[in-house]
């Protein structure tokens, strides 16, 4: 009973938060709603007994990713809102709804879910974090290391991409020498 209440509560919260994140025109609202939604998602993980995953969700997403987005938003001039031309909202919602309906159909119809067998069953009497650690560092060691390298590469890539010409301040440049000016862009493009 408690589980059901918790599920429906968090489900409503998550859906509404994400809807705000998608539908609002204010970037700041969207970011805040997204952060809240992420935290609510982690609640599901806790309900499902995946404690470690829930912790990671909070730390990585809400802590790291959203902090990155927040810094990104500071970098861009988000107060100058992008004018979003609303072209055929019916199509957008129609296709989104259609996709959702189809996926539900696929899951509801006994096409996929019947054929799943447990490869690495949960061991009794072992905490979730411990169990995850045992599987992650035995069966999934190589993917784990690859993921680690990938993160490293992404980090370096992000730094290099964002850090180019960091020493020259865009705001202090003359108008015509600025990389933002139209001519320079055209030269760069050609």
């Amino acid at each position: 009973m408690f589980e059901a209440i918790a599920f429906y509560l968090f489900a409503i919260l998550t859906i509404s938060m994400f809807s705000i994140a998608v539908l609002t025109s204010q970037a700041l609202y969207a970011l805040t709603a997204l952060a809240a939604g992420m935290i609510f998602i982690s609640a599901f993980f806790f309900i499902l007994g995946a404690d470690f995953l829930g912790a990671v969700q909070i730390i990585v997403y809400t802590g790291a990713v959203l902090a990155l987005y927040a810094f990104g938003m500071m970098f861009f001039d988000t107060t100058r809102d992008v004018v979003e031309k609303r072209t055929s909202p019916m199509l957008v919602f129609g296709m989104g709804g259609m996709a959702a309906l189809l996926i539900v159909l696929i899951f509801a119809a006994p096409i996929v879910s019947d054929n799943i067998t447990a490869l690495y069953p949960v061991q009794e009497g072992v905490g979730n974090a411990q169990a995850v650690g045992m599987v992650l560092f035995t069966k999934y060691l190589v993917p784990f290391e690859v993921a680690a390298v990938m993160l490293l590469v992404a980090m370096i890539g992000g730094i290099i991409l964002a850090g180019k010409k960091m020493d020259t301040s865009l705001t202090l440049l003359d108008e015509d020498k600025s990389p933002l000016s139209v001519e320079t862009n055209e030269k760069a493009a050609s």
Binding site: V22, D81, V82, V132, L161, K165
Partner: protein
Amino acid sequence: MEIGLSHYLVLSTILFAIGLIGVMRRKNLLLLFFATEILLNSVNVAFAAISHYHGDLTGQMFAFFVIAIAASEVAVGLGLLIVWYKRTGKIDLDMMTTMRG
């Protein structure tokens, strides 16, 4: 009332649909990234739920890797976004028409 796997899957689907709507709707690149985060999260919910109801840790493992990939994507994506912004001063999706066929 017992909460089963299909509840979670339906929830996951709804979240995924919201993400899709965001992907189609957003013209601001940064907000488009938000939508992709929603997509990834909805899938994570499904993974965790399946993992739980089948008593198998593989789902959780996949969720971890999805998170790792999401983090990398954000790092690289934001970097590219910054470069783009430096070049054009805009992050409007409609401006990106260099791939015209």
